[in-house]
Amino acid sequence: MGLIRYSAFRLAGMVATVLVGCVVVFLVMKAAPGDPALSILGESAHPEAIAAFRHKHNLDAPVLQQMANWFAGALRGDLGRSLTIAGGVPISELIAQKLPNTLFIGVFAVILAVIVSLVIGTIAALYRGRMADTVATSMAVLGISMPDFWLSYMLVFAFALGLGWFPSYGFVSPLDSLSGAFHSGLLPAVAVAAPMAAVYARTLRTALLGIAHQEYVTAARSFGFRPMFVFIHWVFRNALIPYVTIIGLQVRYILGGVVVIERIFGVPGVGSLMVDAGFARDYPVVMACTVVFLVIVLLVNFAVDVACSALDPRRTR
């Protein structure tokens, strides 16, 4: 199966996943009680005003027809305008404003998590059973168990209000100032990275320990290479495959799972946008965020698959 056919299959699969995901989210949103008209027309909404609003935004049409209209628009590249959280603003503009923030914090967090977990996971595996391993493993357990809002506030109290090294609230968009984004984004990135680093470290440790006992490792050592050389090129290199896979799986967390952290630090991200839109029944925004999330997750998974097959020494040249 050539590369082209494989890519075509994967692409078709991705498109199908996005379609199914959008249909499901659309139907679930419509099934939930609540009315966007009330959100925007307020308490004194007269029945005629509500009816006029629903008609103007095609909310009184049959659900399947509304869905078809949305798909038709999306395929043209028109994601519509916000109904109730940014009245009338084109949704592509909203996403363009907020996606860079989410991606910046996400990538920043992944880099921090990778650096920390490489160190902790390797030390834990190399010094298995000894004090260093216990310390490293405990840190990992702590990282997974800390509630994200608690950790966020602890970071704010310690490093922002306490030491004053970082702002206690607010995020400078990377499009405005890259250095400002790094400065104001460090604490949120650390809060996002903590549980990820814990998971990565545990995965790496387990993979390293598992591979260390394999027969090919023993064979490599029997060639007389130094232990560190064997470790890097035989053990570590192969442990990267499950490690990179886990990194890819966590991408959905940095997109939508960090809403609480975004709220606490004031990072205007896509996750918060989707949550606010959900509460305000802003259907077009929720759908647009769904598409963005699905596409990014699928692309990252594809990239992970490519990386893993590149890392695998068994693949044919």
Partner: protein, 522 residues
């Protein structure tokens, strides 16, 4: 082994240059790029909300929208520190015996595009929100106005079919939607564009707006009240109230629009902060549905009202930041406030049980009380349901959903009871007519008492304030006998600011943007 020294693009070289570039990026722009750095700018955070859809007073419905609108526009009237109605864009006004209001406008007032304010703009503004086709959510404020006459370019006469006492308050720069708009500019821009880049007579114009994130206001030097002392106001929209507190403590903002109740006692002890608080203009109550059991029986309703302790809710849920209520009209509307010591709203288990025995549902009545998960709405519901069940042996259940769903169900009549309330209304009429008059559009209960209706209509017609107050006190006494809703409490409004902020006067309707023009920092 390759000869690494010949290859210019060694890993080391790349790493070195990348680090150098990165370090360059971290120097001076770093300081400028700091999130919300301090300076000639007031950073006034709106806390607890983050949705603004429009800056058009004719379309605004949400609290944060009005917070900013009050900085961009003026009304014909405004409130002074004692909640008296005083002229704003008006220079003077006269109310005739038949209720007709004649307003003389201040000469020389300019809109932010340089055009002059005239009586025609007043006429345009009111006609626009009266228009059924425009479907303004604030239409009810001007529905009583029958005719608008332009006497001369600076004088306008508003006539009502019969005297309408709330008219003056409905024309104030509060949560009314009657802020004066420029006819020419609006027609040129169109409604949608005007909602994003509004033009008003106020001291501030919208320089930048990032939905869900912040609004940036720039000073209007030609403001009729005098050029503002500050050049710019940043208004970050901070969804989490507690994040607003940390932002203030960390020096990222100078002022907040609310404070979390639980933190107020501790914040008041901090010497570097100023905490403003007073009883707010709001009413919180349990909305009941009279079309379904068990709250279709007034005797049962009275029993439930005496079966729980409002004082306990204020202490436990609001941390003391509120006042128990025995009616709908809040204490800050002094002339009409009837006090909170009515026996039917006082906790008395013995009387409650006696009343229950006389009701249609003496044994273990079931009911679902709706609420939503935000801060004290849910906690109030928990304490209310818990105490009533304990006192009366009823089987009430709290159902936690979200605000949008609750509102939809109230409008549809698909509920038995719900924690509910209203914030920011400024006239006794809004707190009573709309909620308990047969035709009141906030009358989700389906309650109808023709004698009460007559009293409330009389309250609308009575221009003399003291006489009007007496009417509303009598109306509330009458209403409480039927107990159409269960009063809970009136909560405090709060503002937090650093000691460097001067010139902010807190008013009970939770004002904000109207204060920016007179404020300084330092």
């Amino acid at each position: 082994m390759t000869d690494r020294s010949r290859n210019k693009f060694t890993r080391r070289a790349i790493l070195k240059s990348a680090t150098a570039l990165g370090a360059m990026g971290l120097v001076p722009p770093w300081l400028a790029g700091r999130a919300y750095a301090a300076g000639e700018t007031l950073r006034a955070g709106i806390t607890g909300y983050n949705v603004i859809n429009t800056f058009d007073p004719g379309r605004a419905t949400l609290i944060p929208e009005f917070y900013v609108i009050w900085a961009i526009f003026n009304g014909l009237m405004k409130f002074d520190a004692k909640m008296n109605v005083v002229p704003d864009l008006a220079e003077s006004f006269k109310v005739a015996d038949n209720g007709t209001l004649e307003v003389r406008l201040r000469p020389g007032v300019k809109f932010q595009d340089g055009s002059a304010l005239t009586a025609d703009d007043v006429k345009f503004t009111i006609e626009r929100i009266s228009d059924e086709k425009f479907a303004s959510p604030n239409r009810s404020k001007v529905q009583a106005i029958d005719r608008i006459d332009i006497v001369d370019p600076l004088t306008v006469r508003l006539a009502t079919k019969e005297p309408f006492a709330p008219l003056l308050t409905f024309l104030a720069n509060a949560r009314t939607g009657t802020q004066i708009l420029p006819r020419a500019a609006l027609k040129a821009m169109g409604d949608d564009a005007f909602g994003k880049k509004p033009i008003g007579t106020g001291a501030w114009s919208v320089k930048d707006w990032r939905p869900g994130e912040r609004v940036t206001l720039a000073a209007f030097d030609g403001y009729f009240g005098g050029k503002p002392k500050l050049a710019q106001v940043d208004v970050p929209l901070i969804a989490e109230e507690s994040s607003g507190v940390t932002a203030l403590l960390g020096g990222q903002i100078d002022l907040t629009s609310t404070a979390p109740f639980a933190d107020v006692p501790d914040l008041m002890k901090k010497p570097e902060l100023v905490v403003l608080k007073q009883a707010g203009l709001n009413c919180r109550f349990v909305q009941l549905n009279h079309r379904k059991p068990p709250f279709d029986d007034p005797v049962f309703r009275r029993a439930v009202s005496m079966a729980f302790d409002r004082e306990a809710i204020v202490k436990a849920v609001l941390f003391g930041e509120g006042v128990p209520s025995a009616g709908l009209i809040p204490p800050s509307i002094e002339y009409a406030y009837g006090g909170n010591k009515r026996p039917l709203c006082t906790y008395d288990p013995a009387k409650a049980k006696a009343e229950l025995a006389r009701s249609k549902y003496p044994n273990g009545a079931e009911g679902v009380v709706l609420t939503w998960a935000q801060s004290w709405w849910k906690r109030s519901g928990e304490v209310f349901v818990g105490m009533v069940n304990q006192t009366l042996g009823t089987r009430l259940v709290l159902e936690v959903t979200d605000a949008n769903t609750v509102f939809s169900r109230l409008k549809a009549g698909d509920f038995q009871a719900s924690i509910w309330g209203w914030l920011g209304f400024i006239d006794a009429d809004e707190y009573t007519y709309d909620i308990v008059h047969t035709k009141g559009w906030r009358n989700f209960a389906g309650y109808s008492n023709p004698k009460l209706d007559a009293l409330l209509e009389q309250g609308r017609r009575e221009i003399n304030r003291d006489k009007r107050g007496a009417v509303y006190k009598a109306a509330e006494n009458m209403m409480i006998e039927d107990m159409p809703i269960l009063p809970l409490f009136c909560s405090n409004v709060h503002n937090l600011m650093t000691k460097k902020v001067h010139g902010f006067a807190q008013l009970p309707y939770s004002n904000y943007g109207d204060q920016f023009a007179g404020m300084t920092i330092g």
